[in-house]
Symmetry: none
């Protein structure tokens, strides 16, 4: 059982989804517009969001990015079958699942269940702790060994993404895509400059890393256990 938020403008589809999910024991809320949906997601902090892409007031992809900017909530996007590139793009920009419309109630329910099975075992806190670093995703405040440090937007987004993937080597390409939201031109040194500034604020250098470890030729890894 979980709380699910449905954003879908078509009344009949919305009712189908709400009924199917409610029948299988979930707490369901629904809205019919992007802006109301965004507000609802913020207010009710659901465990899963079902997001229709064909909303009247805003592109579904934009809404997805707005949700991702404030939350790591798992998102299932509902889309038309013939749009393969769109699906790839959405999965890369933060969607966790997709269902193809028209979908059946049982299918949607199965997707929600499959997704929750993965997510339940993860600790869903709004504050990430990596070694001596505390990252509050909501207020965007960071402390290192208890002392507050001021990060600007890019620095915070870099740190937050690395922290969300603690221990994993994150390729520059992925890191750039996540923070800049645009394709990575391989020769772009900007990301290195920001990493350097971030390191300074975390109290380390590349030569004496405490958290951000360079894996030459592959990417960088945030690791608090060393």
């Amino acid at each position: 059982m979980a709380s699910v938020f449905v954003v879908e403008d078509d009344h009949h589809i919305r009712e189908l989804a709400v009924r199917a999910l409610a029948d299988s024991g979930h707490v369901v809320r629904a809205e019919g517009t992007a802006m109301a949906g965004l507000q609802g997601v913020i207010d009710s902090s659901p465990d899963v969001v079902i997001l229709d892409l064909g909303l009247p007031d805003l592109d579904g992809g934009d809404l997805l990015r707005m949700i991702r900017a404030i939350s790591d909530v798992p998102v299932i996007v509902a889309t038309a079958r013939d749009d393969e590139n769109e699906i790839v793009r959405l999965l890369n920009s933060g969607a966790d699942e997709y269902v193809v419309k028209p979908y059946s109630g049982p299918e949607l329910e199965a997707r929600v269940r499959a997704l929750l099975r993965r997510v339940d075992s993860a600790g869903n806190t709004r504050v990430l702790t990596i070694g001596g670093i505390e990252i509050d995703l909501r207020s965007r405040q960071v402390t290192v060994d208890g002392a507050s440090v001021t990060l600007n937007r890019k620095e915070f987004d870099l740190l937050a993404y690395l922290a969300a993937h603690e221990g994993a080597v994150v390729p520059r390409e992925e890191l750039y895509a996540a923070v800049w939201r645009e394709p990575y031109g391989g020769a772009d040194k900007t990301i290195d400059v920001h990493l350097s500034w971030l390191r300074r604020k975390l109290g380390e250098t590349a030569a004496q890393p405490r958290y951000i470890h360079t894996v030459r030729g592959v990417g960088v890894r945030l690791d608090g256990s060393m």
Copy 2:
């Protein structure tokens, strides 16, 4: 990067999948029959399984249940059937994702990535253990008898590929193609140099092998049981 196992009987589709996944940096194994696939999944403990449903020797659903009986490995099912009920049934019986055939390389790659992201964020680790060697594919960290060793990119990729094929003799040609991502010019001695460096870091020599065994005229074999 992860180790992926593909079970698909159609040669062309299999090659498409293998190439797409290898190009995006994964260690890939593939088989064309259900029984060989099951054996391969048992032997190589992959991080993700791509499972075709239209296998010649066994129903894909049955194979999925057999895999589920022995492992929690995430499974992506590939189905030509545009059959909604079939998909729901499979998701309920343990599949984690599905792709509809024919699928593109980028689409498959995106599904694998999305799945790995969920698995990783659930706190799972992807570790290969060969004798005293522990290989963490996510952080690219390696320990031998508990002691950390620092491998550079080529060394790590070589070791990871050999470990994913533990016990099998890997031809130089295949090893080179997997790590360098380009065709093997037969006279290339570079791979030998890197293998030598890797051996040194693992604490062995070719004359006194503990893990990497040379099979003269054929290739090399990683084996931790000796």
